[in-house]
Symmetry: C3
Subunit: 234 residues, 3 copies
Amino acid sequence: MDPEMFLEVANQVTKLKMFPYFDIAHAVLCCLHVREDLGANTHPFSRRHPLTTWICCIFEIFAGGMLASLFLGEPVLSPLKSNQHLLLYTAVWYVIFYCPFDAGYKISKFLPVKLTFSVLKEIYRVKKVYDGVTHSLKIYPSGYLIALIIGTIKGNGAGFCKIFERLLRGVWTPGAIEILQPSFPTKACIAASLIFLLDKKTEFISAPHSLLYFGIVVFFVYFKISSILLGIHD
Amino acid sequence: MDPEMFLEVANQVTKLKMFPYFDIAHAVLCCLHVREDLGANTHPFSRRHPLTTWICCIFEIFAGGMLASLFLGEPVLSPLKSNQHLLLYTAVWYVIFYCPFDAGYKISKFLPVKLTFSVLKEIYRVKKVYDGVTHSLKIYPSGYLIALIIGTIKGNGAGFCKIFERLLRGVWTPGAIEILQPSFPTKACIAASLIFLLDKKTEFISAPHSLLYFGIVVFFVYFKISSILLGIHD
Amino acid sequence: MDPEMFLEVANQVTKLKMFPYFDIAHAVLCCLHVREDLGANTHPFSRRHPLTTWICCIFEIFAGGMLASLFLGEPVLSPLKSNQHLLLYTAVWYVIFYCPFDAGYKISKFLPVKLTFSVLKEIYRVKKVYDGVTHSLKIYPSGYLIALIIGTIKGNGAGFCKIFERLLRGVWTPGAIEILQPSFPTKACIAASLIFLLDKKTEFISAPHSLLYFGIVVFFVYFKISSILLGIHD
Ligand SMILES: [Mg+2]
Ligand SMILES: [Mg+2]
Ligand SMILES: [Mg+2]
């Protein structure tokens, strides 16, 4: 691949449109996560408490945005304002939990499908981290720690809200708090936030922005694929 | 009752002034609720921890308003700004918990009195749901889910904050979360919010607003009276 | 001491610059508090989870400011915007937890040193209570309860956030909630907030402001010294 074409690809990646494919991938993986957290209890629980599973899925999907809003003094519910997204996510929730023959769940667990969704989600994650850092720096231009926190939370909100998502289902697991045992995505989001911050606020990083962004995307995608193929769980 | 007079009554109901009678009814029932949640422990606990019982009562009384403020990015404590209301609620708290001969508690548990307060509270509840939906739609004109959440929370805030109110007393009951086992008032508030939303945003409901509002009031009051008289507890 | 000189001293106390000595004293005591809460577990825990200890210390140091921001609808993370303070606090955290020979911890536990830091912290505490009451009254001029709450929280934020700071370490102790068993600093902060409120909003207190402020400082410092020397723990 000649350098110019490479730069062109990198440039395209920074401008990818997220709706609807990346949103679907994110939602599918969040719903799968909620469902697998229910474990063997999934079938009876999801039949008896459909409202609860829906609220848990919506909460997990929007966790990063809602937590970031709380931390920045914006309305906590503002991420829920798009009806188009809500309809899409409700459809995903229905397919994952209540599809006839459990087809939705089985298909999304099929390795090539799961791999595709995971790759899309990682690309989306980098965008969220970047948007979080940028948004935070607009509000607090020299609030470096705030930018790191917001970038990390936007990138892995579900991880930080896991114990609260469980609380919505009546399950309280204080020992599972993310800060105590940060998962790989959390550490990767901290690193990515730091790199974006250095790029924005210092001259240490001389690479063009799109290359840097693309490099982080490649890193996130590479480690996600490895961890799925090698069966590593964080 | 001829239709015109009926419409007139409905119209009056939508314009009822809430202060002070409806506020008293709401406060009395909230304080009773806190007290009964203490169970057999009430007497020693309320004597040793008067500040805690006061904070719990005030928190439960304002729960809906504070939670809605948090969700809409408004100051969480703003519902506490009226000193007139606070004085009234403090008087109610005192009467329910510390009245000589426990007269306040006994009178408010006397069936006709409790029934009256309950009816007033249900009328107030409908107003809170309506105000919540309206206020939310002013901020997010197409945020339908946000309007439903705010309407429901304003209508039954105490239900959603129950586990946090208990936490203020050092008691943690994650399994009692409202979302998992929505009580009747929660379900009724969701339905009422939905009806108000449909009335505001669609043409499905052709009935005049005051009739719709009155209908919901009648429904809420009817079910409350039934549940008290038949001894049904949600 | 002649009265004029006394008033002059009082006046100076109200205008003390807090950065950096008072901030250091506050941070040292917060870090000590986190460390002692870890108990016998300190050494292994702090080696395995340095990020967690840092987050806990920073959270405890800023607890009052963050909680007050949440309650007043301001960005929760805004107290973190000063990089100068964050660097200072990070240095304090490092010295208390990871200093060679544990020198930082041992020195700060040495009675004259601890006493000095405690005196500085109490002076700082009065300033925080005063600033909290003033700030709150600017937003809600007649929100007396709000001013009391904000003053108390700014003065003893760490106390109110203790159970959440523990949650960050995976430890959940709902029974240790501050409201149920208010510590001496909490009660003193409530009293100080009330006095500042009376001074601002009524004519009951005719003493000049600087004398009143100085009196509260003396009271706070006197009781802190007594409690340390007499070994009283709240
Ligand atoms: Mg650069
Ligand atoms: Mg209509
Ligand atoms: Mg005065």
